[in-house]
């Protein structure tokens, strides 16, 4: 883990790192990664991953409308919206 890697994963996460904290964050992440590196000691050859303790396929339900259209309810909670859409800064000039 170095500052360049931290800058890359911060960008992937859409987070800005305060330059004042850069050393501390790099050191913390390095220590955490070293800590989880203990997993290397285990032989996992041929072991299937466990992604979810239930190991059941997601259930599906009938494709029926169960909720009313509440567009206005959701749009009014947005930081910025018009009567139909969430608004963000212009993307295409």
């Amino acid at each position: 883990m170095d500052k360049k890697t931290v800058t890359t994963i911060a960008y992937l996460s859409r987070l800005a790192i305060d330059p004042k904290n850069e050393d501390k964050i790099t050191k913390d992440l390095e220590n955490i990664i070293k800590f989880v590196d203990q997993l290397d000691s285990v032989d996992t050859y041929g072991i299937n991953v466990l992604t979810n303790p239930l190991e059941k396929t997601a259930k599906t339900r009938d494709d029926k409308v169960t909720a009313k259209n509440r567009k206005d309810t959701f749009l009014e909670r947005a930081p910025e919206s018009n009567e139909d859409y969430f608004l963000v800064p212009r993307v295409v000039e």
């Binding site: 994963i9 913390d28 072991i47 909670r77 800064p89």
Partner: protein, 483 residues
């Protein structure tokens, strides 16, 4: 008659006998909240609506099992028209348009959602020191942490403000604060309680559960919290028993597993001694102890710190300043909007976990970390499957020690992560587990953890109830011991 430190059962009887009206109960609860404001246990109160509901209950009799009972709701559950912050600045203005299934279930049973409890930001923390709304104090000592992440809920119950509260548990967030605050807390089997309307942290680990003074009250709460919910694809379609029906059945002949790999000599002497005394007590109740081996258990914390951050980085990508929650001022372009909103809205611990998650999921590292951790997770679950062929429950201390002082873990995140050493394995395997008060260390409460096999909540509650009807650790209150 004071309502402080009463159980759900006590309060229901008082309401039925008309020793108190629903409105008086709610008013007295708010008096207790206000006289305990130094705990900082609540982020948002629901006073006007609560009084209205209580007045309605006084006028029209309602027979729900939680009729008129004030319940504190962790601020991670969406509550319709009531601010839900998840302990974060990001959601400081968020008013959900719907309620979580758990909240609906409890309110349909007649409970009064008295307010939203403080918590570690997005449930990431073990001391309630990461909340944007300030630290929560432990009722057993104002400089002590209440544990986390459900620290506000634990403090509210421990201070006797409410008889019960809701919590959520991803790596110990119900059981660890229950232990440090001297109350009872249960994390059910993964899938037992719907996660619909719970703000997600790590979706394959998150589970809601009750926090209360007694195992009996946890059973009463659990009866109402569980349901099969089509809105959550991981919600279990299993029979939901009456969790109160077997509480008093004798545990004679019960086989309790003790984990060979947990070296209790690493704990404080007094913590190990409390654990030994609880073993003796269970022996006196007719239980038998069996040594079991969980060979991969020491890898639980490192496994968790790959799986949980990975899921967290994915789940928290929804907080982008577009649809709800905070948005930064004057964004220059879309990317600036995302980056500044997230950088200003999240605290340090949340950012740290998102960064770890992005790292372990990134190209080139996915197999080495994420896939590897999921394989080790399988080994840990297999260990439990084998152990439960020999025993009915597994007993460990809940925490390494009693409540610690605020700020005392320094700024090394790994020291805090190890707080959840005993609690994380049950989340990885999806198993139910609870914590009950089982002793005091230096005047502070400490908890005993019981882990059960898949869907064995009734058994766990029975084992806990048998302990509580023959001991008085769960009856200790902070005022009595501190003053």
């Amino acid at each position: 008659m004071s309502i402080q430190f009463k159980t759900i059962k006590d309060l229901s009887t008082m309401l039925k006998n008309k020793d108190i009206s629903n409105k008086e109960l709610v008013q007295d609860t708010y008096s207790l909240i206000k006289s305990n404001v130094h705990l900082n246990a609540f982020v948002t109160l629901n006073e006007e609506m609560s009084l209205k509901k209580a007045e309605e209950l006084d006028k029209n009799k309602f027979s729900g099992n939680l009729a008129g009972i004030p319940i504190a709701q962790k601020d991670l559950f969406c509550t319709k028209d009531l601010r839900t912050t998840c302990g974060s600045k990001m959601l400081s203005n968020f008013i959900p348009p719907y309620s979580a299934t758990v909240i609906e279930n409890l309110e349909n049973a007649g409970c009064i959602s008295i307010g939203k409890t403080n918590m570690d930001e997005f449930a990431m923390g073990s001391s309630n020191e990461t909340s944007f709304y300030g630290n929560v104090a432990n009722p057993w000592g104002s400089n002590l942490v209440p544990g986390g992440s459900s620290g506000g809920s634990a403090a509210a119950v421990a201070a006797g403000i409410v008889s019960a509260a809701t919590g959520t548990d991803t790596g110990g967030s119900i059981r660890q604060p229950a232990s440090l605050c001297g109350i009872t807390g249960l994390k059910p089997t993964y899938g037992r309680i719907s996660r619909w309307g719970m703000i997600a942290f790590a979706s394959s680990l998150d589970q809601a559960g009750p926090m209360a003074r007694t195992a009996e009250d946890c059973a009463i709460m659990l009866n109402e919290m569980c349901s099969h919910d089509l809105k959550d694809t991981t919600s279990l379609d299993e029979e939901i028993p009456d969790f109160t029906s077997d509480l008093s059945t004798s545990i004679k002949g019960l086989k309790i597993g003790i984990v060979k790999e947990f070296d209790l000599s690493m704990l404080d002497n007094s913590v190990a001694q409390v654990f030994e005394e609880s073993k003796k007590h269970y022996e006196s109740l007719g239980a038998e102890f069996v040594e079991i081996s969980l060979p991969n258990i020491s890898l639980s914390v490192p496994t968790y710190y790959v799986v949980a951050p990975a899921e967290c980085s994915s789940n928290l990508s929804r907080f982008d300043g577009v649809k709800f929650g905070k948005r930064c001022e004057n964004p220059q372009n879309l990317e600036d909007l995302y980056i500044r909103t997230r950088s200003e809205g999240f605290g340090d611990e949340v950012k740290r976990r998102i960064l770890i998650g992005s790292y372990v999921l990134s190209a080139g590292f996915y197999d080495a970390y994420y896939k590897k951790a999921q394989q080790v997770r399988r080994l840990i679950k297999n260990d439990f499957d084998n152990a439960f062929k020999k025993v009915d429950t597994i007993m460990t201390p809940t925490t390494r020690g009693a409540a610690f002082s605020s700020g005392s873990k320094g700024d090394d995140p790994i020291q805090m992560y190890l707080e959840d050493l005993f609690t994380i394995p049950a989340n990885l395997a999806g198993l139910p587990a609870l914590s009950i008060p089982n002793g005091m260390v230096d005047g502070k409460p400490i908890g005993l953890q019981l882990i059960g096999n898949f869907l064995q909540e009734s058994k766990l509650l029975q084992i806990a109830h048998n302990f509580q009807i023959s001991t008085d650790w769960h009856l200790k209150t902070p005022s009595e011991d501190i003053n």
